[in-house]
């Protein structure tokens, strides 16, 4: 089951410059694990160990079907064939 994941400029060093790659899984967490096996190092840029286990990094946004997964179940957000997954680093600063 292939799901397209849009990769932001800053992470394309992990994907040989590709703007989108295919991954698979039934949740965002599984999708990221599959991504990691094909593009080692990328997971650490997306996920950190929080007090309640793995969590999306504070300044990374992941969207499934245009919804920020912070509002839809975080890493447990389900994905299915045809889901659109977009990763965008926050535009933020002090």
């Amino acid at each position: 089951m292939a799901i397209e994941v849009r990769i932001p400029t800053i992470l394309r060093t992990y994907t040989d410059g590709e703007r989108a790659v295919e991954s698979s899984g039934s949740s965002v967490a599984e999708l990221i694990d599959t991504l990691e096996s094909a593009h080692p190092g990328i997971k650490d840029r997306l996920v950190e160990d929080g007090s309640d286990g793995p969590a999306v990094r504070r300044f990374v946004n992941i969207y499934v079907n245009d919804e920020d997964i912070r509002f839809t179940g975080a890493l447990e957000t389900p994905v299915t064939e045809g889901s659109t997954v977009v990763i965008l680093p926050a535009v933020a600063g002090g």
């Binding site: 932001p8 400029t9 800053i10 300044f59 946004n61 969207y63 245009d66 920020d68 912070r70 977009v86 965008l88 680093p89 926050a90 535009v91 933020a92 600063g93 002090g94």
Partner: protein, 160 residues
């Protein structure tokens, strides 16, 4: 070097003054690879803070989708400092994620939000390293060297 039209420069300054004492933020999009900031897009500072700025995550997705559809990229990413100089903070440097963008900082400190010149400076921020660059303000950009209507740049027309 950043080359920017006066009208866009003035719009960034006006946005910074309007939102003072909170930080103002936004982008100037331009055709992919052109290095020419042409479409001014002020954004809402979701943090609504005098010391921090962040694009709302929904706004961010819409912005990037729109730029994708138009074959654009964020040529300039700007924000204001309202009590400190127009130089990237440690947080700015750590969170900078567009190595191809010009990071513009303006400062509205010391009453600059009401009158007088507003400091307007530009930087490249790559892998945590900040490099200031010259800013050149022009009245109008010269005619685009790459014109999408020119036959020589249209492969379909060349092969026809």
């Amino acid at each position: 070097m950043l080359t920017i039209e006066r009208e866009i420069h003035d719009a960034i300054v006006a946005h910074a003054r309007r939102d003072h004492p909170d930080e103002a933020c936004g982008v100037v999009a331009g055709a992919f690879g052109s290095d020419r900031p042409s479409r001014f897009v002020p954004m809402v500072n979701a943090a609504m803070s005098p010391t921090f700025y962040e694009f709302d995550s929904g706004d961010l997705l819409r912005l990037y989708r729109e730029m994708d559809d138009r074959d654009e990229e964020p040529v300039v990413i700007y924000h204001s400092h309202t009590a400190t100089e127009a130089y990237p903070s440690r947080t700015d440097t750590n969170l900078a994620s567009e190595p191809n963008a010009h990071y513009v900082l303006v400062s509205t400190r010391d009453g600059a939000h009401e009158s007088g010149p507003v400091d307007f400076r530009s930087y490249r921020i790559v892998d945590g390293e900040v490099t200031e660059e010259e800013v050149t303000i022009v009245e109008r950009y010269p005619d685009a060297p790459i014109d999408s209507t020119a036959p020589s740049t249209d492969p379909k027309r060349e092969s026809a």
